[in-house]
């Protein structure tokens, strides 16, 4: 018994470290890329954006995963407890992405000149909307917002829509963004569809 609990603890510790390494990996790859001879700062724009998007999709996938798995699995509960921090890390990468953009552009009027480009305003709006759930991701904000907390978190849906358009325009194609978002959307779809079937069965 004691042994079992001990095993559980070490299981969690390994999982925590693995998660931290996974979340820091994009940053590591970006720093490694920066060692290349012909590297320019703008080269860090796609990887930082991609990290923000992927980690956001991952955080969003946990909810439907938990619903499909049922709340009892130890691993799923572990994931649910980390969901909020994973979302905040996604926002941190988005903020880094914006920081890189600002430094790369280097001048306010250059940024202003292209703010009307669909690839750019979608990014700004996505970041602005994303900032709200990120700012609300702590216990104090949760208590303060009460019933509004959920609607604020749900602003990630429009953020996803904007991110997909942003990505497709700036990287010239729909394949990349759609391939990356597909698993998360599939989990949502499965979580919505499954109860429908379950209800049918009990009706009969």
């Amino acid at each position: 018994m004691v042994n079992g609990v001990g095993q559980m603890r070490s299981w969690r510790r390994i999982a925590n470290v693995a998660l931290a390494v996974l979340l820091a990996l994009p940053l590591g790859l970006m720093l490694q890329g920066a060692q290349q001879e012909d590297w320019v700062l703008a080269d860090a724009l796609p990887p930082s954006g991609e990290a923000a998007a992927l980690i956001m999709f991952a955080a969003m996938a946990i909810g439907p995963l938990a619903r499909l798995a049922g709340g009892r699995s130890e691993a799923v509960r572990w994931l649910m407890r980390r969901r909020r921090n994973i979302g905040v890390v996604a926002f941190a990468y988005a903020a880094l992405h914006l920081g890189i953009y600002i430094v790369d552009m280097g001048a306010f009027d250059l940024m202003l000149a292209e703010i009307g480009a669909p690839g750019i305003w979608t990014g700004w709006l996505a970041l602005a909307l994303m900032a709200l759930p990120a700012a609300a991701s702590n216990d104090r904000a949760m208590r303060f917002l009460r019933g509004w907390w959920k609607p604020v978190q749900r602003l990630v849906y429009p953020v996803v829509a904007l991110t997909l358009v942003h990505w497709a325009i700036l990287m010239y194609g729909w394949r990349e963004p759609l391939v990356h978002v597909a698993p998360m959307l599939a989990l949502y779809a499965a979580a919505v569809i499954r109860p429908l079937f379950a209800r049918k069965r009990t009706d009969r």
Binding site: D109, A113, A117, P118, G119, K150, Y157, A161, V165, Y172
Partner: protein
């Protein structure tokens, strides 16, 4: 209930983004220069020298398929991505964040 509001907002923004994006046409993927064999290409440095003389500020330049692709700031002060013919060094396409600023006839 509230979920459907944010989903509707998502759909509306997606629609607005797509409507705007349809004008930008994801143009870069199919840019070609028909430049022929590489032996006849002028060097990238020749192109850079020509562009600098014309008032461009260059950040990065490399061959992309059969064009030269150059990132930088135009003489007019726009930060862009541009494509050049490797033999004639003629300007083919200038894009700012997916928007076409110049396209060779």
């Amino acid at each position: 209930m509230k979920a459907s509001l944010s989903l509707r907002l998502a759909a509306a923004l997606m629609g607005a983004g797509l409507a705007c994006a349809s004008g930008t046409a994801l143009a870069h993927g199919n840019v070609t220069c028909n430049a022929g064999p590489k032996e006849n290409w002028k060097s990238l440095d020749t192109l850079k020298a020509k562009m600098t003389a014309e008032g461009w500020k260059i950040t990065k330049a490399h061959p992309n398929k059969d064009c030269y692709e150059v990132y930088g700031i135009t003489p007019e002060g726009d930060k862009v991505e541009s494509f050049w013919h490797p033999v004639t060094l003629e300007k083919r396409l200038v894009l700012r964040r997916g928007q076409v600023l110049y396209k060779a006839p």
